[in-house]
């Protein structure tokens, strides 16, 4: 059995496992957590594109997540748009705002960029809280319709899981193809050495803005799915700590690692769920863990390539 075949086979097995998951664990709450993990995977793929691959930090991604969620919610709940159209509109609105913000802020570097994006995130949150006629204020928007697809109303937890799983897989394949394309190489060049990239004739500003745009597109699409998963959104769901969580997912999974967002989302969301038992101490330990992680394992799980490990362990004989 060649290595390539093994690779394909393991993907098929993983896919089979994911599809049969609702039947293995019937607990509705767990299924909800898995669906949330899928949404986090989509958004953190976006963040990995700009932060992991292109090396530009963004601490305002929760704002784009919120923009996607609110766009989709307003279009379906107030204007009666069908779900599929609202889903793509959410992505496009987020993309357009992201291109604008990116074009403006990506001149900055490091901590300055971090602060500018935090500022943007706070501005969006303030607007969502105070512009009550549009956003419903602190109470948020309720009665968001369930997603519908070709005439099917998806309101059971299973059907939503399948829908979001499908979107996640498509999003991941697009991401992988983007990264092995010319553009992916350009992103890496900008991250590794911006001067060398310029010398090679790469328009670095444009590349950064495109990477930021794509990453906000992902965040907007994820936001739309989140709105229709819970059928209720409020500004509380998109605080700055959400941006930090996303950043942490990318660091944990390994910055610039294609499988990173998947690994990071699964690990971090499961950790957060298991810390939930500790109630008040939950965020305390989370904050401390963040600090300890940076001291002891500053590179997260990067460099862990499952296939390479298999290859090393089993040689080429499998």
């Amino acid at each position: 059995m060649s290595f390539e075949l093994f690779k394909k086979l393991s993907w098929v097995l993983i896919l089979l496992f994911l599809v049969s998951l609702p039947y293995l664990r019937v607990n509705i709450y767990n299924l909800h957590v898995y669906t949330l993990i899928c949404i986090y995977i989509i958004i953190s793929i976006g963040l990995n594109i700009i932060f992991g691959h292109t090396g530009q930090i963004s601490l305002g991604h929760a704002a784009f997540y919120a923009i996607g969620a609110y766009t989709s919610a307003l279009l379906t709940a107030k204007l009666g748009f069908p779900f599929v159209l609202a889903f793509f509109c959410a992505g496009i609105v987020s993309l357009i705002i992201g291109l604008g913000v990116g074009a403006a802020t990506l001149k900055l570097e490091g901590a300055y960029l971090a602060m500018a994006t935090i500022g943007f995130g706070e501005i969006v949150r303030m607007i969502l809280i105070h512009w009550e006629r549009m956003s419903g204020g602190p109470a948020g928007i309720s009665k968001i319709p369930d997603p519908s697809f070709l005439g099917w109303q998806l309101h059971s937890a299973q059907s939503k899981y399948y829908l979001i799983l499908f979107v996640t897989i498509v999003a991941f394949i697009c991401y992988r193809n983007l990264m092995i394309s010319n553009y992916g190489k350009k992103f890496t060049a900008v991250k590794e050495n911006i001067l060398a990239a310029q010398a090679m004739g790469i328009d670095t500003t444009r590349t950064k803005v495109i990477a930021f745009g794509i990453s906000t597109l992902y965040a907007g699409l994820g936001g739309s799915l989140y709105a229709h998963l819970n059928c209720y959104i409020a500004p509380d769901a998109f605080p700055i700590s959400e941006s930090i969580t996303l950043l942490l997912i990318v660091v944990l999974g390994g910055m610039g690692n294609i499988l990173g967002p998947i690994l990071g989302s699964i690990i971090l969301i499961e950790i957060k769920e298991s810390l939930r038992m500790l109630r008040d101490y939950n965020m305390l330990i989370y904050g401390f863990g963040l600090m300890a992680l940076m001291i002891f394992a500053p590179k997260g799980f990067s460099g862990i390539n499952i296939f390479r490990i298999f290859k090393r362990v089993f040689g080429k004989k499998i």
């Binding site: 930090i57 901590a111 500022g119 943007f120 706070e122 501005i123 303030m126 965020m283 001291i295 500053p298």
Partner: protein, 298 residues
């Protein structure tokens, strides 16, 4: 009308001097170690809470509570440097990676402090006992709350103390030398490890003073750090990050501007205005209003 404008400017000056203290807290670590401490806002919050604790629960007079609070919070700042900063500085990492890791580590510490405060003092806002008479005093036709006058006086006192400490004492000279050129300073006999600890301690002390001063004006709550931290950073950027004079000017400018927006436009969007200023300034004049733009080296 003119009186009203002046009144807004004066109360803006009071709030602004608090922002200036936070901005100084940011500037010190940036100047000395090129490190932006994202937990500065939360240290500010601790200042507020410790002041309330000393006044309400330990029941000591206000003038004693200030040095006690500063001492406790500075110790926390030094501990912070030992635990969360130094191990990172030692780790051999690339420059860009070091920045990102420092950002996440200090954010993690911020979350930790925030939630520790929530556990110790509860999630609800705590009010500061009224210290000064509610009767406003009259200066050239303007009515000013007595608190504001005190806030300005105490803030200026600490700024002058800091200036004296940095310019005229041996410790200050050592700190400035370490900020300018670490290696040469070490050769001249400056204890770098001590200098780093002192920088963080001083930065925490300034944050604590800000926290003490904001407590009588507004409530203390565990999540107040983010908003004041961002404002302080904005102030530091307005004046030029890393400059002591810039931080003071920037803080006062931001406070006055914010109060004018609150007084004449609307109070709901004052934070939006402040953060928009931050973004616009970062875009067009990231070196601040007072500093010359740095020469970029290849």
């Amino acid at each position: 009308m003119l009186i009203q404008v002046f009144q807004q400017i004066m109360s803006g000056f009071a709030i602004g001097s608090i922002y200036a203290l936070v901005a100084l807290a940011f500037s010190l670590t940036v100047k000395a170690l090129n490190a932006i401490n994202f937990a500065t806002g939360d240290i500010f919050m601790l200042g507020s809470y410790f002041a309330i604790t000393f006044l309400l629960f330990v029941k000591i007079p206000f003038w004693l509570a200030i040095p006690f609070t500063i001492a406790v919070v500075s110790l926390i700042g030094i501990l912070f440097e030992k635990i969360a900063y130094k191990p990172l500085y030692r780790a051999r990492l690339g420059r860009s990676e070091h920045h990102i890791i420092l950002i996440i580590s200090t954010i993690g510490t911020g979350i930790f402090l925030q939630n520790a405060a929530m556990l110790i003092w509860g999630p609800d806002a705590l009010a500061f006992p009224p210290l000064f008479s509610k009767e406003p005093i009259k200066i050239i036709g303007m009515l000013l709350p007595v608190e504001y006058v005190w806030v300005i006086a105490i803030a200026i006192f600490f700024m002058v103390t800091l200036h004296f400490l940095l310019q005229n004492t041996k410790i200050g000279k050592g700190l400035r030398a370490a900020a300018q050129d670490r290696d040469t300073a070490a050769l001249m006999g400056v204890n770098l490890s001590l200098a780093d600890s002192l920088t963080f301690g001083l930065s925490a002390a300034l944050g604590a003073v800000g926290g003490i001063l904001i407590a009588p004006i507004s409530f203390a709550h565990p999540t107040m750090g983010l908003s004041y931290g961002l404002k302080g950073f904005t102030a530091a950027v307005i004046g030029g990050l890393g400059s002591v004079r810039g931080a003071i000017v920037g803080g006062i400018l931001l406070g006055i501007l914010e109060n004018l927006v609150t007084g004449f436009i609307s109070s709901t969007y004052k934070d939006v205005v402040a953060f928009s200023i931050l973004i616009i300034l970062l875009l067009f004049k990231p070196s601040g209003l007072l500093l010359k733009p740095p020469q970029q080296k290849v």
